[in-house]
């Protein structure tokens, strides 16, 4: 309590410095005059009285200084002085200041830009519930294994595996594709959509922030066409209109009713259909639609490998156990259905599947910009060293005038600090246009 009070007292004193200084001078004057009066009463003459009074008082300058130290926040005041001094010095040599700030800004700008991407893609890629237990399930076909290790999923196989498996909690099947979408007669544009079994969001552990999730009857044949928008899709087509639920959008030529909007954190990743299958640019998913299986989906067993599947492992089940179990189920089905091909399974954790194509390149880029930043720092340190040497005379003068060692060091350090701060701010400011550029680039790739 006392501590807070004292700090408060001192902070207040900082802002009333002039008034308090005047007060103190007045108080000292009163003191000396009272002393002179008393001395005169004791029989001294005017001059003797004054001299004696001043001698008894002690060094006015020294006392005023220790009074100020007691009154304010001397460290803070010193720091403020250092900062003022550093900015003055930098303004006097704008060439150096500009070089230093630009060097730092570019280094920091590059590093933060790449870090933003690394952070978004590698460090916190998926905002799903317990993303560690989500897996991408693909089928494997013995006959094509020499060519590629996995195939997309067949609808019938998915249904059966989902029903029989004891290691999977649930699984959702879907297809990612570009669809022509327009808002009541506008010029249509091609946007990323996910057509999925109605349980997709439940498998991911996500919920719409507006409206409702899909229900199983949405996928029934002949059911009214409905869609859920991603946050981005909501912004793109409806400008974030709060009354979007119930409005219609033409998706693939059909009037489709919007039933829900997903939160901004939910971004559906691009899942490659399988290895060695070309996948399009990483377009954002704007629209989710329920998947209504057609006749072919329900009948084909040896063709129609057209889908992707995301499954959630049961609590306690490992990827290895699931792989073994599903492989067994696939083998058994191959035999019981007398299939001419031999089915297997290929599971990968969702997180590594999503980043598998890019993580190496990204880490390399991150290391590269880290190296650039390091070089920038070394260059700057050299420049500062040269400056310190050339300012030797000034330092000597300051020392001769009574600056303490720590004050001299702090003066130099403060200059570096000011440079670092300004450079850092400019660098972080640079990050925004760079990231904005990447964003636009991605959009162009998707639309074009």
């Amino acid at each position: 309590m006392d501590f807070i009070r004292i700090v408060f007292y001192r902070c207040v004193a900082l802002f009333r410095r002039e008034k308090l200084d005047a007060d103190l001078d007045e108080e000292f004057r009163a003191h000396i005059e009272l002393a002179i009066e008393e001395n005169r009463e004791q029989g001294m003459n005017e001059e003797q009285a004054r001299t004696a009074a001043l001698r008894a008082f002690g060094s006015v300058t020294q006392i005023r200084e220790s009074y100020r130290v007691q009154r304010g926040l001397p460290r803070l005041e010193q720091a403020a002085r250092d900062i003022r001094y550093a900015t003055r010095r930098l303004r006097k040599s704008p060439g150096f200041a500009l070089t230093a700030i630009l060097t730092l800004a570019l280094g920091i700008g590059a590093a933060t830009s790449v870090f933003s991407v690394v952070d978004a893609v590698l460090l916190k890629p998926l905002a799903f519930r317990d993303p560690g237990s989500l897996v991408v399930m693909r089928e494997a076909v013995e006959e094509t294994r020499y060519e590629r290790s996995a195939e997309p999923d067949n609808y019938r196989h998915y249904l059966r595996l989902k029903k029989d498996s004891k290691t999977l909690e649930d699984a959702a099947i879907f297809m990612q594709r570009g669809m022509s979408v327009s808002l009541s007669g506008d010029h249509p544009s091609i946007v990323g959509t996910v057509v999925a079994s109605p349980n997709l969001l439940r498998v991911l552990g996500a919920q719409p922030m507006l409206g409702r999730d899909f229900v199983d009857s949405d996928a029934n044949k002949g059911a009214a066409k409905v869609a859920v928008l991603s946050y981005e899709g909501w912004q793109t087509f409806f400008g974030g209109d709060a009354k979007v639920v119930g409005q219609t959008l033409r998706v693939g030529g059909f009037a489709t009713t919007i039933v829900g909007v997903l939160p901004p954190t939910l971004r559906f990743p691009r899942i490659a259909v399988g290895p060695k299958f070309a996948s399009g640019p990483p377009c954002a998913t704007l629209i989710y639609e329920p998947l209504t299986p057609n006749e072919w989906d329900q009948s084909a067993d040896t063709s129609n490998f057209n889908y992707s599947v995301i499954a959630r492992l049961k609590e306690g089940a490992t990827l290895k156990q699931a792989s073994a179990e599903l492989e067994t189920l696939q083998n058994a089905y191959t035999v019981s259905a007398h299939l001419p091909i031999h089915l297997g399974i290929a599971l990968t954790p969702l997180e590594s599947d999503v980043t598998s194509g890019i993580s190496g390149a990204l880490w390399l880029m991150f290391a590269a910009v880290g190296g650039v930043l390091l070089i920038a720092c070394v260059n700057l340190a050299n420049l500062q060293l040269a400056r310190a040497v050339s300012a030797e005379r000034e330092t000597t003068v300051r020392a001769a005038l009574g600056a303490s060692k720590s004050q001299l060091v702090m003066a130099r350090l403060t200059e570096s600090l000011v440079l670092a701060l300004v450079g850092g701010l400019v660098g972080v400011a640079l990050r925004l246009p760079v990231c904005g550029f990447c964003w636009r680039l991605r959009r162009r790739m998707c639309r074009g």
Partner: protein, 112 residues
């Protein structure tokens, strides 16, 4: 300068100031400094000015408060007086000092 004058120990000055205010009532800086010199019988070497940082310290802790007033000779001066907290502090500091003094006295007493 008598040889027996000694510098004021940090912390002792605070108690001297508080005790002075206790016995004299509100007083200006000069009065406090003079009173300390008189009571100590000039055995304490005190630059009178050092009383001011000490007074500020006591004010910051809330033990004394200061107000501008007029001296007996009609001079405008800042008068210091004890606060309620200051009275309590005197009790506590006095106790501390007595304990220290008693302890030291035991060490300084001629051994039997």
């Amino acid at each position: 300068m008598p040889e027996s004058r000694s510098d004021v120990l940090q912390g002792t000055l605070d108690l001297m100031v508080l005790k002075t205010l206790e016995s004299m009532g509100p007083l200006h800086g000069y009065g406090i400094a003079r009173r300390i010199e008189q009571v100590s019988g000039n055995t304490v070497s005190l630059n009178q000015g050092t009383i001011y940082p000490a007074l500020l310290r006591l004010a910051q802790r809330g033990w004394v408060k200061a107000e501008w007033g007029t001296s007996e000779t009609g001079r405008r001066a800042k008068f210091y007086s004890l606060t309620g907290k200051g009275w309590k502090q005197i009790e506590q500091e006095t106790e501390n000092w007595e304990r220290v003094a008693a302890t030291m006295a035991r060490f300084l007493a001629p051994s039997n």
